[in-house]
Amino acid sequence: MKSIKEHMMFILPLMAILLGMEFFLVFNRVTRNYEEKLKENYSILVVTSRPVRSSVIEKVDRRIVNVKSIKKEEIAKEIVDGLSQKGVEEILEAIPFFYTLNLSSYLNREEINKIAQKLLNYPVVKKVETFGESHRSKYNLFLFLKIIFWSFVSLMSMISIFLIVKQMEVWQMAHQERMKIMEIFGAPMMLRSGVLFRIAITDAVIATLLSVGFFIFLKYYWIPKSGIEFLIEKTDMLFGFLDVVVLLIVVLTIVVSAVFIVTLGNRESVE
């Protein structure tokens, strides 16, 4: 019973880190997905006094992509109804040249203004309009939540690592006699600490399996029945095979580091 309790004292903080880590990965994926969508919808409108090649506009900033010219006829379509051919030609003559362009990444307002300013520096550019402001507040909220979430996961991880190291110290105390005897007979640190590595790695694998099990349950059983449309649509973002590898690497790094911290802190007792 005591042994189970001790293992739980180790596995639970590890699970807290793993769950926090996985939620963060999921949140990151959702944010990135949203960012991609925003990027696709977001465009800048450039008005020039004479025709400009798209490659010239793209050279203004490396983040400018997909420059498209808007046909004057399309712009004038609504206002030329009923006008004579000559009138239409005059209007088309008077209308400047319009181009839409996309950005390779979703930028903040300051960065967009910088790009707009760079475009305005060209004498032929008369006006630059930027859109997508309505998404900005939602995106900022996402970013804010991401920072809060990251801070929370970091804090939780720090507390968990502290608990893990403490539990490791308890095990080290429990196996101190054995380690001491092995030390007297010339065992190197890695061999002396073998018992700690064994316990830590076993518990790390158990914690990973439990965390993976929890997410598999969420993804395949709970979410489909939950009726939460947003989650049902995003199920594919919830958990992937690569996450298992990431979690395993993270957890093994933590436990191996914890063993090293504890054993190096209690090195050879030469008086």
Binding site: E177, R178, M182, I184, F185, G186, L191, V270, E271
Partner: protein, 225 residues
Amino acid sequence: MAANVISASRLTLAYDNGRKEIIKNATFNIRRGEFIFITGPSGSGKSTLLKSFYGALRHTEGDLMVGGLDMGRISKGRLQELRAHLGIIFQDYKLINEWTVEKNVVLPLIIAGYGLDIQQTQAKKLLKHVKLSEQANMYPLELSGGEQQRVGVARALSKNPFLILADEPTGNLDEYSSNVIWDLMENACDQLGATVVVVTHRIPTIFNIPYRHLIIENRGIYEVH
């Protein structure tokens, strides 16, 4: 290897960063293949001296050579190597209670990375030698004190050490068990050619052979003739 397995010159051992001196300016040699007693009253520094032989205590002054290695300058790696070639026997046995008798006996072989087959062969031979073949799969706490110390002796012999250090090996044993242990240690010296250094508060009466005898008195180490 040199004629002297242990060689001390003006050796000073102390605790508390040199403030509490236990041994002061001691000069002595222990020759290869000899059986030697180091005696002294309780608290005289017998165990402290033995610790310095296997590098658990660094001397503060003088020189100490063990197996040709300068214990004042020995690296961690070399110290581990040296310890792997020593046989150490303790009054409190220092057995690993979670391991079977057999596994305890082959601890030095495990540390040296020997294969399981060699470990098993050696364990069988040694357990037969110390008359504990029947107890191979038992755990130390299931054995009597005398039996546990025989496991300790078997462990000390498992890698054919050139030097056996014994710290009050019969301190917790009755006369019969003590005699068995002394026999085993004498055999190790006579048959295996190992140097045996025994630290004890008094020499057992069964020893009528005139072994060399060093005594620790007033922080000095003197030879008894």
